[in-house]
């Protein structure tokens, strides 16, 4: 029995996990959740994922794990000896600290405005809600100012945690891609960020995670 991922092909968070699995060459089965049918709100699903979200990992012996970044980290650690190296050496406390610094920046500084923009300009129209243009302006400004910080970081080293690629760079892909669609001028004004993103999006793992979309 291979690893199961409960998720959805279009879901940003599911694709975040798929990318990590492809980088590590780990086989899995995607169990597609019936989102329109409200399966995520059923008791059966809430028992596995108490916030009613996807993705969820289920291992052969029944171990359940949710949160795409936690799943990615677990895969990267469990399969440390195969595929792409995605984590620092756990005994190198400073390298681990710099990885955690980058991981926190992704969640605190990048994800809120980038996913916020995707929500306003992609999700809302799709679900019949009206885009709040004033909020879009604020989010754009915030993301622009955060990318100033990213530009500084990527002027010092190649990837976010140092000179080597890590899982944290890959975590950015889903909303870095929507940002390219919704606010390409932000990349034009941040050349180091743009170069970093352009290289990441060419990775076969990301292309495979988006197959058919």
């Amino acid at each position: 029995m291979v690893l199961i991922i409960i998720g959805h092909p279009v879901s940003t968070c599911t694709r975040r996990v798929k990318t990590a699995l492809y980088e590590k060459g780990v086989e899995f089965n995607l169990q597609v959740i019936d989102w329109p049918g409200g399966e995520h709100r059923t008791e059966a699903h809430l028992q596995k994922q108490p916030f009613g979200q996807v993705p969820v990992l289920i291992e052969e012996d029944g171990f359940i794990l949710y949160e795409s970044r936690a799943i990615g980290r677990y895969i990267a650690a469990k399969y440390a000896n195969q595929g792409t190296k995605l984590l620092p050496d756990p005994s190198d406390l400073k390298a681990v600290a710099l990885f955690e610094q980058a991981a926190s920046v992704e969640l605190a500084d990048f994800d809120p405005p980038a996913s916020g923009l995707a929500y306003e300009k992609i999700i809302k129209p799709r679900t019949g809600l009206t885009t709040d243009e004033k909020r879009v302006q604020t989010l754009n400004q915030t993301l622009n100012s955060k990318l100033d910080g990213y530009e500084r970081i990527l002027s010092k080293h190649k990837y976010l945690a140092g000179e080597e690629l890590t899982l944290v760079d890959l975590f950015h892909l889903p909303y870095a891609a929507t940002t390219e669609l919704l606010a390409p001028e932000l990349y034009e004004s941040h050349p180091k960020v743009h170069a970093w993103y352009k290289e990441l999006k060419e990775r076969p793992s990301w292309k495979k995670a988006n197959e058919g979309l």
Binding site: P50, L65, E67, A70, Y74, E100, D111, K146, D148, Y150
Partner: protein, 227 residues
């Protein structure tokens, strides 16, 4: 004792935290330092003169924020990363705050909890704090509609917390970890402005009260908080 401390500071053997005693994110670091019994000194930043936007500060913290750790030349920012580093570096002293690194599943459950805190808890309590404390402090009026929305979403997220804390004592399992402590700075503000949400989730509230009463948190707030 004072002479020894002076020598330690001079020889940079004492940890330095660039921050502000009352700042939520600085206190998120202080609470971990107190749990681990690690000595430190706060180097205040001159917010009024825009020191956080100076080139000197931006070269350490590219987003112009605090806190920043300086450990004998090693610079680290992001309060949660600093907390993790302290908890790992001083694993053998004070309160145990991280799982055994070889236990991959325990680590995974910690990371799951850490994501929940930063993705599900923080945006809402941070939003409440923004509307009721930080914006008014900057002369910006509270947006009551946004505040209400944050409170509503917060309540929904706490339904998830209630499920988790009905099965286990802390967020990552039956042992306290750094992640539980991270909820304190903004959670405290949310409790002041939306106490009904806390009361409506009894397992969550019991966990919350036990964290608030830890001596490390009481000490972290000794020089003031934003309530």
């Amino acid at each position: 004792m004072i002479r020894i401390r002076w020598v330690l500071e001079l020889t940079r053997l004492i940890l330095e935290i660039i921050g502000a005693d009352m700042s939520t994110c600085t206190r998120r670091v202080k609470v971990v330092l107190y749990e681990k019994g690690v000595d430190f000194v706060i180097k205040p930043i001159d917010w009024a003169t825009g020191e956080h936007k100076s080139e000197a500060h931006l070269s350490k913290q590219p987003f112009g924020q605090i806190p920043v750790l300086e450990d004998d030349g090693f610079i680290l920012f992001e309060s949660r990363a600093i907390g993790r580093y302290i908890a790992a570096k001083y694993a053998d002293q004070g309160t145990k705050l991280l799982p055994n690194p070889e236990d991959l599943r325990a680590v995974a459950l910690l990371e799951q909890a850490a994501c929940i805190e930063q993705s599900d808890f923080e945006p809402n309590v941070g939003g409440i704090a923004m509307e009721k404390v930080f914006n008014p402090f900057k002369g910006i009026a509270t947006d009551e509609a946004r505040f209400k929305k944050h409170v509503e979403t917060f309540g929904t997220k706490l339904d998830g917390y209630e499920r988790i804390l009905s099965k286990q004592k802390y967020l990552a399992g039956d042992e306290l970890t750094v992640v539980d402590l991270w909820h304190l700075p903004h959670g405290e503000i949310a409790e002041k402005y939306a106490p009904e949400v806390f009361e409506a989730h009894p397992k969550f509230n019991a966990w919350w009260q036990s964290l608030k009463n830890r001596s490390s948190w009481i000490k972290a707030n000794e020089k003031g908080n934003l309530l």
